[in-house]
């Protein structure tokens, strides 16, 4: 499969290219409840998000900063399960394609339990190779377009890559500031949808500036066709502008949105409005950076 082919097949890639420069947003499903998530996703969709990542909460989110970790804890306390998550997605109707972002163990455990498999005479199959299929299948069925697994480096990704290919889902990989040389090539040969460019070392979390690492990473990635979106620490329209200016095809914003949800607490229409406004601000920033001039919205 060539880069071109991947590109052609990908709903996600298409969404980025069509809405260039693209805004990709993240929130945690189930924070503070699945009902609220539906509202929030729709608000982001209205606000201008071109792709929406939904976090499926996992109890040990080692790649997240404190903001998203807290969101995950709220979602887990609210009783969010993978099945609840998929049912949420089943019912969502957004313009923006949806991706699921979760940790590898959640993929592995989804599907028939060990006990069930045993009763079906299936227990012999090694879980780590076989067991991501039920998750991917269900994700495809729910209408998700892609998967991001922050604790799954390319070296361990073969089983998931295969399952995703089988079901036509994109598998997005993260390119870190430390990713270079052979490893970079390997990742870029596996990635589909877009390359998630990690703006700086560390974890997710809103920050006040754009790091140098971002510029370096984008330079290293220049030669690759796949779209590049930059995340980790993007929180304002101005960051978005700067990042797009530096050559990215999209910006990814998570913690800044989760902060809004956290501030508003449970079941809150104002939160949806704020999310929509924030998405709009970020989208405007991205466009500004991409040279597409957009007027400021009227003050309310």
């Amino acid at each position: 499969m060539t880069d071109e082919q991947t590109t052609a097949d990908s709903e996600i890639e298409a969404a980025i290219r069509e809405n260039h420069p693209a805004l990709i947003t993240y929130i945690t499903a189930g924070d503070p409840s699945l009902e609220d998530t539906t509202e929030y996703v729709e608000a982001l969709d209205r606000g201008g998000a071109d792709l929406i990542e939904l976090g499926l909460p996992f109890s040990e989110p080692i790649a997240e900063g404190p903001t998203i970790q807290a969101a995950i804890n709220r979602a887990l306390e609210a009783g969010t399960t993978p099945e609840g998550f998929f049912e949420l997605v089943d019912d969502l109707e957004t313009e923006a394609p949806l991706l699921v972002m979760t940790y590898y163990n959640m993929l592995l455990q989804y599907g028939p339990s060990e006990a069930q498999r045993a009763s079906e005479g299936d227990a012999e199959k090694p879980r780590n190779e076989a067991d991501v299929r039920p998750f991917v299948e269900r994700a495809a069925e729910a209408g998700l377009s892609g998967i991001i697994v922050p604790d799954l480096p390319a070296e361990e990704a073969d089983p998931l890559r295969e399952a995703c290919d089988e079901h036509g889902l994109d598998l997005v990989f993260i390119v870190a500031p430390t990713t270079e040389g052979e490893r970079l090539e390997r990742i870029m040969s596996q990635v589909s949808g877009f390359a998630y460019v990690q703006a700086r070392l560390g974890t997710t979390g809103a920050r006040a500036d754009v790091s140098n690492a971002t510029h370096d990473s984008l330079t290293r990635l220049e030669e690759y066709e796949v779209p590049k979106a930059v995340g980790f620490g993007v929180s304002e329209g101005d960051h978005a502008a700067e990042i797009i200016e530096a050559g990215a095809d999209g910006v990814i914003v998570g913690s800044a949105l989760v902060d809004i949800i956290a501030e508003h607490g449970e079941g809150n229409a104002p939160a949806a409005a704020a999310l929509e406004a924030k998405a709009a601000e970020l989208k405007r920033g991205a466009r500004r950076g991409g040279g597409v001039d957009v007027p400021e919205p009227e003050q309310p």
């Binding site: 080692i62 959640m106 879980r127 190779e129 922050p150 604790d151 361990e156 990713t179 974890t203």
Partner: protein, 420 residues
């Protein structure tokens, strides 16, 4: 290289059968490759005399070799020969220094400028702080706020050794959160920082690296038991939390298929998981866990059917972990290691029994192995080696409290515990 057995470790594999691997954020992968490279050069090839320096420092600073002691009264009680491997005599009071010193030294050889580590009860944190002070390495320890409040003396020890102790307030403020937080620090500072992981867990090459530093336990024990009895043991017992003392004790005996290797886990108050609460009232991962990925490796886990990691429980803080080293999962899966467990009470009785009969106050972790011995000695053959992974001074308060509320047959008179 001086020890040819070590060739078994040079398979270049990131996995042990289907377990192990490297399930970490992309940003850490180059650091793992760098570490793998350092592991091969310095540890396996003894480049620049790394292993020589490690062994010398473990001797002069760490107090190795530790004795293998015949337990006279236990031998009499069980009518067979019982020997204790005395890791409680290692500097700092547990086998933890074997690993901590090895890794801090390796970080030095690698040109790292800074050490981070997680700690639960504080044993690995104190060992790392000691090693870092000894080798003049700046050191930060992440520790849950709850654990900090429960384990003040260990916090003081770390601070006195010059380490910063960073409180982790997320979640329940215990080991899991501390590991997560340390990973985050490492992910941010990976270029100049080495993460000294505290057991044979985590992504490749950590499990092999830590095994390499800990397997001195079994290497010494093998030589010592031969010298003392002219033969090899029928069985070896070690407690298993993450499993570093376990693999440490077992590794040299793995090829001897007729030596039974028992990994004794914390049975806590029950072996059942409470799915609704997300709680396991035990830490018996090898005995009851299912396969999954945690903290960088595929291994056996205590998890809900959904894949959420549950909260483990044990009277012994050092065993209280929902994961276990991937190599142990593999050795259990292949039948080479037998996973067993004893409940809290048996461990507490084991603690009292060794204190009372042998004049050795064992760590509550190690007491699990002694509890298992009491209940199963008849199946362990004529010559048993028990790894006493650490000393129990750190556990006095816990044991007092737990003893007050129970009827423990091995405990001394209740008035002992008059704590006015």
């Amino acid at each position: 290289m001086s020890t040819p057995e070590r060739n078994r470790d040079r398979d270049g594999e990131a996995t042990f059968g289907e377990y192990g691997g490297q399930y970490v954020p992309e940003a850490l992968m180059p650091a793992l490759q760098e570490l793998e490279d350092a592991y091969e050069r310095y540890v396996l090839e003894n480049e620049d005399g790394f292993m020589d320096e490690f062994r010398e420092r473990m001797r002069d600073f760490g107090g190795r070799p530790t004795p293998l002691q015949r337990a006279d009264r236990l031998s009499e009680r069980y009518d067979r020969e019982v020997y204790l491997k005395r890791e409680d005599l290692v500097h700092g009071g547990a086998h933890k220094l074997n690993n901590a010193l090895g890794q801090v030294l390796l970080a030095k050889y690698m040109g790292k400028e800074r050490i981070v580590a997680e700690t639960g009860a504080g044993q690995h944190g104190t060992a790392t702080a000691m090693a870092a002070a000894h080798l003049d390495m700046p050191c930060e320890i992440y520790m849950g706020r709850t654990d900090i409040n429960r384990q003040r003396p260990n916090v003081y020890r770390m601070r006195m050794n010059g380490a910063a102790v960073n409180p982790v307030t997320a979640g329940s403020g215990t080991l899991k959160e501390a590991i997560n937080e340390t990973m985050r620090d490492w992910a941010t500072t990976v270029e100049r920082t080495h993460y000294v992981i505290g057991s044979i867990v985590g992504p490749h090459p950590f499990p092999k690296l830590v095994r390499e530093f800990q397997s001195v336990i079994g290497r010494e024990a093998r030589e010592q038991i031969r010298e003392k009895t002219g033969r090899l043991p029928d069985s070896v017992l070690a407690c298993a939390g993450g499993g570093s003392n376990t693999i440490g004790a077992f590794h040299e005996f793995v090829p001897d298929e007729d030596i039974a290797l028992h990994a004794v886990e914390a049975g806590g108050s029950s072996l059942e998981i409470d799915e609704a609460e997300g709680v396991a009232p035990n830490s018996a991962t090898l005995s009851t866990g299912t396969d999954g990925v945690l903290h960088g490796a595929m291994t056996k886990l205590l998890q809900s059917t959904d894949g959420q990691i549950v909260e483990s429980h044990s009277v012994s803080a050092g065993l209280d972990y929902a994961g276990v080293g991937p190599e142990l999962s593999h050795l259990v899966e292949t039948g080479r290691v037998t996973p067993v467990s004893v409940p809290d009470e048996a461990a507490l009785n084991g603690f009292h029994r060794l204190s009372n009969l042998e004049g050795i106050i064992p760590a509550l972790e190690s007491s699990h192995a002694l509890g298992y011995l009491e209940e199963n000695y008849e199946d362990l053959g004529d010559l048993v080696v028990v790894n006493v992974s650490g000393r129990g001074d750190k556990d006095l308060e816990t044991v007092l409290e737990e003893t007050e509320t129970r009827d423990l047959e091995a405990a001394p008179d209740v008035e002992v515990f008059d704590r006015q």
